[in-house]
Symmetry: C2
Subunit: 385 residues, 2 copies
């Protein structure tokens, strides 16, 4: 186990019906909120208006910022920060999935800064400590774990970069995770959340070093919980399944299962971020085509953790040859993606041929690992196009 | 899964050698510290003086409060609080195991209060929010999880009560967990820490309700990690084993594995707290004689979780009869206690016959569950005397 620091001050309010507490929770932090959300079903199905009313009943006036898209854009961040400055907003409320929460985190620090917020993403400047508006998140789609971490991933369309910040001040003060809000999520996006959760866990699990038994058990527990609750895809309104997947998703990227592991790059995420910077696709749909190929390369280099995965998650025989067992586990995972109707080809996810070379070049530069040279990444992209 | 709130703002600094950071970490919170510790090996082996010097090098002056005993006493709390008031102490540093940290938590809030701190334990008064000195903990014995929770268990010798407070302000600001500090812990106390860790997890696991798959996996992972690292008892200086057991111990009672479970009383802990209020014994040595008997009663009432435990922790056949499998798992756990040389009789732990009736009465009152009437608790105590 490596030495580590772990800090996560986000307060979680979890359970069916807890969205009704959004007003009470927010009022502790401010009286004038920026309510950040999407233009889609949250608005259409009345949740947005319900939240706005609950805030008002608790004495919190809110200004709307709707229209945050998947892969949130830098211009949305700048727009939100400007509204905050002009209206003396004192608290941000994010109502949505990872994209909305990531965007709200960036708005929260951009609102108290006078420069270009992109400076923080390209590390041109560092923000002052604790110089961020308080953020309350109400989660409507479990996937990214943004509700209980300090990551904010933003896309700059001008430079075609998708980059992340990680500041202690970006942890939401409180996140409400109400699984009932997710029963209207269609099958495809539910599956995307399940994939994203598994990807967060397995990327660090498979390359996280030796002697991490408790981290491994937690990681395997998260993957098993997602798989054992996969029937939600045929029963979208099952709140028991939703609750289990939802909590597993939060735990997948809140630091608990990675603390003490080697700090290796998340290869599939690095490559997908380059793809996502160029083509505006759904994150998880960009992961499923490339993740098995990446895992195969890692497995051939060192099969021991893959063997353990196949045994503990898929019940494989412990006497199998390590490489054979490892590769079998990857194939079984791939079959889960098939069962969940996720794309296994980048072209099905909306990626086009032009730009693949540049994506491979940038991804290999970002990964900085000899196993994933530009040539190898190019092959992964082409083989799974 | 039940609705829940989860909040844990303690920052963990984990790893071999991290004790050297105690000065830097403490200096962020204050310049005049109360350094709380025990009179035993921490002082004898030079760790206390080393920490004091590291604090001083970081500009933190410290006043000593040594002599905190297992089952920390209310008078130590009052004594510590008086020193803080008289010397304008602005930060508390706890150097020790759970007893020292529990005591330091109570000193931290008693130092800013003018009344009797016992009022908070018997719920006669509630403290003001955030009215506590900041606490930095450096852990020297993994067992209670106090380094990453808000529990403070204090014994009032006058009233023979051992009671706990749970205030958000009692989370340590930072806890340093340096496994290397634990290589001098003798075999018996190492085993006690392992038992305490397992007890924290299993008490809520076995009676924590249905549909908690991710919580169950984490709990099983913690127990498995302790068992798979038991060779530390024959190789006390093995820091890899120490690190795994240590981190498992912290996770056992930091809220992660209990969030979402039914909030049932921890039966063995409730009974042991009554024993510990009367006889000044080692906490874990009071648990091992009674825990198997308590689990047997719970298993006979509902064997399903015990069957799962035997399968996932001890590899039992899934086709076994549930009750038979459940009881077999408890027996295997008991055999672990035997292997670790823990007492299986209360008399071996230092408990005496007089007072057992009163202990049973108070424990059953505190548990408030028909399965554990005064008669049943009396039988448990006598059968395992």
């Amino acid at each position: 186990m490596r030495n580590f620091e772990l800090y996560n001050p986000t307060k979680i309010v979890f359970g069916n019906g807890t969205i009704s507490r959004i007003g009470e929770v927010t009022a502790k932090y401010g009286k004038k909120a920026l309510l950040v959300s999407t233009r889609g079903s949250i608005k259409r199905l009345g949740l947005f208006d319900k939240v706005k009313k609950t805030l008002l009943n608790a004495g919190v006036d809110s200004i709307d910022l709707i229209g945050i898209e998947p892969n949130p854009k830098l211009e949305s961040v700048i727009n939100g920060a400007t509204i905050c400055k002009e209206n003396k907003v004192d608290v941000i409320v994010a109502l949505g999935g990872g994209s909305v929460i990531d965007c709200a985190k960036a708005i929260a620090f951009a609102a108290l800064d006078d420069g270009d917020p992109w400076d923080f993403f390209i590390k041109k400047r560092s923000p002052k400590e604790d110089n961020s508006l308080p953020l309350i998140a109400a989660l409507t789609l479990s996937a990214t774990g943004s509700e209980m971490n300090f990551n904010s991933v933003i896309t700059n369309q001008k430079t075609r970069q998708k980059l992340a910040t990680h500041f202690d001040m970006s942890y939401p003060k409180v996140s409400i995770i109400d699984p009932e809000l997710q029963i209207t999520i269609p099958k495809f996006f539910t599956a995307c959340g399940m994939v994203d959760t598994i990807a967060h866990v397995l990327e660090s699990y498979f390359d996280g070093g030796e002697n991490t038994p408790i981290q491994d058990r937690i990681a395997e527990g998260i993957v098993l919980t997602v798989i054992e609750n996969e029937s939600v895809l045929d029963d979208l309104e099952n709140t028991a399944n939703r609750a289990n997947i939802s909590w597993a998703s939060t735990l997948a990227l809140n630091g608990i299962n990675t603390a003490g592991r080697e700090n290796k790059p998340l290869y599939a995420h690095k490559i997908e971020h380059e793809i996502g910077g160029t083509y505006d696709i759904i994150h998880a749909a960009g992961l499923t085509p490339i993740m098995p190929a990446i895992f195969e390369i890692l497995c051939k280099a060192n099969p021991s953790k893959f063997k353990q995965f196949n045994e503990r998650v898929f019940g494989a025989d412990k006497n199998m040859d390590p490489l054979k067992s490892g590769l079998e586990g990857i194939e079984k995972l791939k079959q889960k993606f098939v069962k969940w109707e996720m794309p296994l080809k980048l072209s099905e996810a909306g990626v086009e041929k032009p730009g693949l070379d540049l994506i491979a070049l940038n991804a290999s530069k970002s990964i900085k690992d000899e196993l994933f040279s530009k040539e190898v990444v190019t092959k992964i992209l082409n083989d799974n196009f």
